[in-house]
Symmetry: C3
Subunit: 383 residues, 3 copies
Amino acid sequence: MSTESLIDVPLIDHHCHGVAPHDQQWEEFEDGLSEAFAPAPEGTTHWDKPIGLSIRGRCAPVLDLEKFCTPEAYMERRLDLGADEVNRRFMRASGLEAVLIDSGNNPERLLDVPGMAEVSDCAAHEVVRLESIAEAVASKGSSAAGFADDFDAALRLAATNAVGLKSILAYRATLVVELTPPSGAEVAAAAGRWLAEVEKTGTARITDPVLERYLVWTGIELARERGFPIQFHIGVGDPDITLNRCDPSHLTPFFIATEPLGVNFTLLHCYPFHREAGLLSENFPHVYFDVGFVLNWVGPSYARILGEALELVPFTKQLYSSDAYAHAELYYLGALRFRMALKSHLDRWIHEDECTAADADRIVEFISRQNSRRIYPLPGASA
Amino acid sequence: MSTESLIDVPLIDHHCHGVAPHDQQWEEFEDGLSEAFAPAPEGTTHWDKPIGLSIRGRCAPVLDLEKFCTPEAYMERRLDLGADEVNRRFMRASGLEAVLIDSGNNPERLLDVPGMAEVSDCAAHEVVRLESIAEAVASKGSSAAGFADDFDAALRLAATNAVGLKSILAYRATLVVELTPPSGAEVAAAAGRWLAEVEKTGTARITDPVLERYLVWTGIELARERGFPIQFHIGVGDPDITLNRCDPSHLTPFFIATEPLGVNFTLLHCYPFHREAGLLSENFPHVYFDVGFVLNWVGPSYARILGEALELVPFTKQLYSSDAYAHAELYYLGALRFRMALKSHLDRWIHEDECTAADADRIVEFISRQNSRRIYPLPGASA
Amino acid sequence: MSTESLIDVPLIDHHCHGVAPHDQQWEEFEDGLSEAFAPAPEGTTHWDKPIGLSIRGRCAPVLDLEKFCTPEAYMERRLDLGADEVNRRFMRASGLEAVLIDSGNNPERLLDVPGMAEVSDCAAHEVVRLESIAEAVASKGSSAAGFADDFDAALRLAATNAVGLKSILAYRATLVVELTPPSGAEVAAAAGRWLAEVEKTGTARITDPVLERYLVWTGIELARERGFPIQFHIGVGDPDITLNRCDPSHLTPFFIATEPLGVNFTLLHCYPFHREAGLLSENFPHVYFDVGFVLNWVGPSYARILGEALELVPFTKQLYSSDAYAHAELYYLGALRFRMALKSHLDRWIHEDECTAADADRIVEFISRQNSRRIYPLPGASA
């Protein structure tokens, strides 16, 4: 971090997506500043948000612009430099040790894992999204009786070089579902219904609770074999989310059931349930969490969120992620905000005699990368 | 704001009630310092609350008293000056551009809309409460078959000079209800049951989910025609509220359904669900929110609440309100706390290079009045 | 408080357990630093938590150690001094007026009430846990028809010298249960089923909703006679808890029903629902709450939690507790964090002209002990 006197431990960004390799025009870029499915109300712009301030204030200098330039000047410069140079600058200024890429969300418009390694000049690994594999299986054609095996085989193939799995159950059957393993007959019946619908509509979007339960428990089997953690989307997201159905405490019986299995689970984002996530991470040795995505989006309010995330959880159970998608700015801001937030709290702790400088360094190491090294099977890493 | 060096943009208080025009004695005034339906426990007083400190500390000087005078001295002076002078002083010291009055809660003991305009020396407009109109229709006499049309006609008449509608669904069928439009037959059946009960008991209090759904969807029709937003009570209230049933995220399917309709919704108060409300306002272009009422009542803790309310929401989607009722002090304190809170955060943002002074001014304008101007059909206003 | 310039009003710790009178070795002590049922993940230790920092930083000097000594040095010294001396030092440094001991959680390994009075050099009183009494009745042998009376008699006997009752409904039938009094026939039927199970399994653990409802309502009868408050576990706990089922707002209908009865209820811990608890305490004259346990466990984040707990509640409705169990450090840290937190907020309030020093003193007295004196029938105390 050359321009800020900040914590400089290289970070493992354990949950992000690929950057967009193409030049984005005004509308596409602005769309990416909101989780809404719609443009900003008439007469307003998504730039009038905390993340808009962050881009104008914190990212502009990385593109050789004055701080707080106008959005128009920012976009003009961004296009002048070109996506590749912009991506390269932000990714390399992020100070990353590794990026773990969720490959299941619009991969066709984003850089792939090797591309991310190259542009970021750091290690890059894949995390496979369970639902994407299931939807690909259904799209290619399967059968009621064969779906279970087809999915299992496709998942194993897709995960050949992966380091983890991800579930977006929160968006689909939601966390309210009773997350127990379904019987083979139940899976076949549910698969039959779904495949018929896929054939009829031409669209494969998995939401069936039985199938979702099957995906997660098949993932658990593979995770046990390969030493993968399984990521769960929690809390904050786009309009598809019903927040009260994404409270991670709905997963308590599931965590009780899975505690003996030797598989770790990571709760992603979590806001506004990051306190619940912290408590679950305290209560269950196989549960971890982060608030990464939110530190980006809340801009000037970053410190409060991480402060709350630090309250109850062991220092050994919190992770770093940016959840960045498409815009290279978001990887950079995620890392920057995380460092600023952690530094602000630990500086206070040291100043108020709540810990020593050595304790603070240890905490930084844990959350920045050691905890991820411990639970992900990263080639060459040792915690 | 003569006595504080604060943000001086005139505010649109988009949700409040009328002030009490009569002199309030000790007991009546103290009752108004709590949402409880009962007196404070024996040996205690409602003055021993954050709002009590605010009145003694911040309001006393407006009545020419020493800061932190006793409650007894405060009430004596209040009665000496008389309600009209007290109301006039506080309302005119509040720095308001307009007050939007919910006319549906005990209007008989409060100033009406023209009265509020006069005492406040600012514009005043009416917001019509759906449930009050329905209960008046039932009290006057209607019929199972005729209720739907009777309510529609009464609402249109009541809303002749209004600028918005309000629903207290949260207190009645609660936000857990599936908020879809009911069929005419369902409405007639539910109306028949309710009207029979009204006749038997002599009391009209609407709680039936079918009728509540009808009220909201009839309100939506009128709102489309007239450009009204519809306000929803959310979260914190009196003992009638069950908080977990007033989480605004229960409305997510409703917001998905209403997004194409061109009607805006405003979520009122929201605490302790203001983060949920902020996220909904981010996700849906037609959703807005405020935390007004709470800034009043938490006294010295005002800054934290607004800080949380600023986290995730676009600056174009938050509103100001006081939710003040009866006591003129509450309009004044609402405005004061809002200004103090916004100033404290924006001063920090400027100081920490999170925004420019011009950005801060723009944010102040948005939340103080421009957002309300944009979504309410205020005569003569342009956003 | 000799080593800190802090609020020195003696505290009533209205909810705690006994200290462990025996020397604890490394593993037992470390286990007590987490609510988890399992050891920390391999390669980590429960010392790497906020509470670990607090013990090393704040407790070490009480044992004549350097601040921030290693856990190993701390444990060695603790064993050198012996449990009795350690307990004596921490308890007497806590500045307590009285401890109210929940006698229902593993009393066989903890000091009893007279023992706590002696080691703490302050008054000690008992709070009887409803579920423990019921489980003892079932273990000794009862009958379907006789259980109701047997429990009633056993509770009265157990409560002879008590000052309050406690329910852990949150852990068992959870707060989602409709908490109305069951009929005698319902109780007999449920008791019959449970007693058969106890006989079969040899284990008595009460979870039946009907029986839990009977326990609470039998407790209410006794509480009316004896002037007891009834404590409810709320929110944060060990892995047995499903947080969303422990939101105190589930109890709203119960509080509406019990408001006329003259019995007070105290909501314990409450995090992350302390705002909900504060609002219930504001809405209902017979509801009180604390966040005691959490101030301990969050270490350096103590101030934020108490800050949120002070937002909406009357100063006359919040209580102090440590919820300390076994480790004498936790009583001491509970008191220390409470004093630090309250002081930090009130100092700011005075500095920012939100209250006078006399107001602050009054608030300290209320929360530290006067509120507990008012609602518990403490011998010799007058509020």
